[in-house]
Symmetry: C2
Subunit: 598 residues, 2 copies
């Protein structure tokens, strides 16, 4: 009896195991060596995306996994294709996003032989992956097939371990690669696992997560510290997708309210937007007043390092005990002023703290005025912002922050909002007010690159039916321009907000701006690209929008089908000055208000 | 007395040493952490290119170094920027192209701390570099500065070692990064090397290359084998840039003629085009007749594995002694049928062989008919091609090979011709006839990716005043579309020949083409891109050309200033059939001619 050849069966077995293990989507870049994987995925019930540029493919998969918290798989052929995944693998590593990277490879004996399209793919991503495994040559050998299924199940499970992240399986195949029938291979591939009476995955993996018990000393210490604190503060930095799913915002808010602590919420923390974000103690305006804010004595920190530099600087300068809550125990705090690490899920720690505080009596908590002063600072901060957003003020002095303010204020509920690095995420941090709406806000803050953001956004958009808003600078949009092909290929409907200042606007914020040359040629680097032409290339609607008209254009785009690019042009230098003026005015106003209230 | 800060001085010292060591060009991607390097390069007399997408930047530098054989430096900021260099670093490794990669990094203590844009850059490219070094924190310490200069000089020298290739220096910097004056740093930076009375580089490096003496046994054995051979054959695969400079084609031709051996010359070998290529024993049409060609008994192989698969297969099947000449001793021969490796420069070996053969008497050499039969095969092969190029034939059955034939036949003399991977290089191999013109033909055959080719071409074009012709498929052009920005930014004047068959034409050559689904969706992957819009984005002239009108359009483009894209549309499936028909007709005609002549 004839059966498909061994490469085909090997690919099918691998994909079967991944599917039974719960994988839902894969992003494939076309190639020859990967044929057995591509064929098996195309036959499966998984959602299959096809992307031509592997760099974009990897960021697309990353975006999807970032949105869902579930692994997305990636497939490419042998050679430099695999190296194009590297930037996204690094981002997934640092941002703790589950990615399963499957690189096809030539057979072992061709390595370092001068064979075509054969590179050294062994441990290609170095230490940036949670696990690396090398599959053996496909063969209908029972132990090999059992090893294949175990390896596949394990690889998938490792992507959502603690911390979540990328896993790399290198998969050598020999010809024939296409699904030809051959009489030479027995069908022991399928028989092996069935013989064990399994129904789901061959290896069921139920991974525990590190927790601390209510009764543990560490939880007791933190509860006591919070109860005794005069000026407690919660700081929530960017959350990884698994953590975001694990931790109920209500748990954070309950503990914070119990002890009278404000919650500083990064736009990527999952706490600035959503239920409880406006009637709880959530702060969003701290970047503007961190320098003049009162100093905490106990700080509880969740997530990664926050986006706001004034905040980080203020925390480093505070004479406070700082507790990091991180299940992976990574000490993600680069000012090295944190004092305690609780290497357990924030959820387990905070539930424990809440329980202990219940029995702590009514004297637990902050000074009377502590929280109230932050609330006052917030009110002043947002009033200053709103003044700058007035049409007349905006017409005189347009700035990118006004667009970011509107993007968040007027985003549909629910929505996915992806914000590019460099200035957009900083302006989102500064100008996006907390809001009681289900906005899932995402950005690539693991390594904070400007590469791959378009694909990250479209990948996130592909994961749900939520409207997708993507805010990007012109350099980011150029860098991953290839990613725009996914709008049509993957059927994503997005509103793309382009803040176009023709070059690296962020450099105006840096001291090098005072050195000319080389500032314009080597840092700002104006490129002169006409983005309507880029939009035309990818069949996107394009509209150039004046800052004062942005809100209306944004609303129209949200309400219409298809993908629109709303391009708002700014002068980077004028924006820089405007930000400076606004920051100074706001800081003075907040300082005055705090002073008066003392 | 005040002096620039330590980061600035450190950068200047590094760049000074590289400049004194002979570095001529650098490609910089803008970023903050790399400011001290960027400032120093901008102040230097080096040629400085600025590229926004690091992936394109790296391939641009690769292209330039591939054209010149001299190292080109690359600079990027910390984070995923550095990972975007990875594909080009791999190509440089495998293709032996000298590249000096300078990645800026955050200070050591910020690694794995959760600090922004801080990734693990230590040995980021694994074993793909010739040398990796980590610079210390900049400091005005005499030993450190001497170490910096030694490391810089050594890094540069390693790029052109044997084999040439990429070198990675990871360069941490701490603030201030901009060239501010500060009183805190003594100017021992400059004093250190001057105190030694040096005028050039601090460390003069004169690297020897492995050679074998005329009198060595290995050279004698090879000379004897060639003298005794009835059917000797030279096979020249793709040459790396250092080898291309080192080996005089006349030396190869002289030995080959002395023993009556034909020289099979890959289009990337440096032997198919140039002086002696048409009146010597050079073969260019072997891909069409390798299956029916007479079998050699002694084969001398130069360069990397040849592009032609029929040739590789025929060599593997031949009952022959096969000598590899490779200074790096890498056994680059993936059929594992080579029998002898001479790990020395081909130049030294062939000069030695020539000397020994001079004293071998007149009976040295091949059978009388041996060379004549190949010459007959060539004549028939090119006649068949020329028939297919007749306007009437072409109008009936257009195919990409006709364009490649014209590209080489009508290229100006001299010219640089860069050919993309996948089908274009294969069609160049098949349809480009040997020509007595100084055509420097380049392609990325190290890892044979379709990524980065546009930048490689433009980088090569930036290196000389030779006219530049770049032949690419549509997938390659899409993959590195960002690279087109360099046309304006770097002032390159090119003729871009686009063979557009809307997807991966090469897959039609593979057995998977018979499996539908998944063939169209997952392999051919039509993208529907309108490349005139891509040309508009980058302000390039665009012309859609019918295959029969190509020669005229090509001539016009060559003669005009500015960069033109000549897009010739093909149907991949029809082209595949046409190639098949032509190959069969040619093989039959050659076989008949050989049969008749016996």
């Amino acid at each position: 009896m004839s059966a498909p050849n061994r490469a085909t069966l090997w690919g099918r077995t691998l994909v079967d195991e991944l599917e039974k293990g719960g994988l839902e989507a894969v992003c494939i870049s076309p190639g020859s060596r990967s044929t057995p994987l591509t064929v098996a995925f195309a036959e499966s019930d998984l959602e299959v995306f096809s992307q031509l540029d592997e760099r974009s493919a990897a960021y697309f998969a990353l975006g999807r996994a970032r949105r869902t918290g579930e692994p997305t798989a990636l497939v490419c052929t042998s050679g430099t294709a695999a190296a194009n995944f590297h930037p996204a693998v690094i981002e997934a590593n640092q941002a703790r996003v589950p990615l399963l990277v499957l690189t096809a490879d030539r057979p072992h004996e061709l390595r370092d032989s001068g064979a075509n399209q054969t590179i050294d793919q062994v441990k290609l991503y170095g230490d940036a992956v949670r696990w690396y495994a090398e599959l053996p040559d496909p063969e209908a050998d029972e132990r090999k097939v059992r090893s294949l299924r175990t390896t596949a199940a394990r690889a998938l499970a490792e992507t959502v371990g603690t911390p979540a992240g990328p896993v790399h399986l290198n998969c050598p195949f020999r010809k024939p690669l296409e699904p030809t029938e051959t009489g030479a291979v027995p069908d022991s591939f399928a028989a092996t696992p069935a013989g064990r009476g399994r129904t789901g995955a061959f290896v069921e993996t139920d991974r525990g997560r590190p927790t601390l018990e209510d009764s543990s000393d560490a939880v007791a210490d933190l509860a006591d510290a919070l109860a005794a604190a005069d000026r407690p503060l919660f700081v929530a930095g960017p959350a990884d997708p698994v953590e975001r799913r694990d931790l109920e915002p209500a748990t954070v808010f309950a503990v914070a309210e119990r002890v009278g602590a404000p919650v500083v919420a990064d736009p990527l923390s999952g706490l600035r937007f959503g239920e409880g974000a406006t009637d709880g103690p959530v702060l969003g305006g701290y970047d503007a007043y961190a320098d003049v804010a009162p100093e905490p004595d106990v700080v509880v920190r969740l997530g990664a390092s926050p986006t706001s530099k004034p905040l980080r600087t203020a925390l480093a300068a505070a004479d406070a005990d700082q507790y990091l809550l991180d299940p992976a125990g990574a000490w993600r705090e680069a000012t090295f002023t944190a004092t305690d690490l609780l290497a357990a899920t924030p959820s387990s720690v905070l539930v424990g703290v809440r329980e202990r505080l219940r029995s702590a009596g009514d004297d637990a908590g902050a000074d009377d005025e502590w929280l109230e002063r932050f609330e006052r600072a917030e009110r002043v901060r947002w009033r200053c912002r709103d003044e700058a957003l007035e049409p007349s003020a905006l017409a005189d002095a347009p700035f990118e922050g006004a667009v970011l303010a509107t993007v968040f204020e007027d985003a549909p509920d629910p929505a996915t909002v992806v914000v590019a690095n460099s200035m957009p995420i900083r302006d989102a941090d500064r100008f996006a007010r907390p809001r009681d709406a289900e906005l899932t806000v995402l950005g690539n803050r693991g390594a904070s690159g400007i590469d791959g953001t378009t694909s990250t956004a479209l990948g996130a958009g592909s994961a749900t039916d939520d409207p997708l808003v993507f805010v990007t600078g012109d350099l980011s949009l150029y860098h991953d321009s290839n990613g725009l092909l996914a709008v049509q290929r993957c059927g994503v409907d997005a509103t793309i907000v382009l803040l176009d200042n023709d070059g690296g606007g962020i450099f105006h914020e840096l001291p090098i701006a005072d050195f000319e040359p080389p500032f314009t040629d080597q840092f700002e680097t104006p490129h002169g690209l006409e983005f309507e032409r880029l939009a035309a290339l990818y069949d996107l609607e394009f509209e150039r929008v004046d800052p004062v008209d942005f809100a209306a254009a944004y609303r129209r785009s949200i309400e219409s089908a298809g993908t629109q690019v709303l391009a708002v042009r700014f002068d980077a230098e004028a924006s820089h000055r405007r930000r400076g003026v606004l920051a100074e005015r706001t800081e003075t106003a907040v300082a005055d208000a705090l002073e008066r209230g003392r």
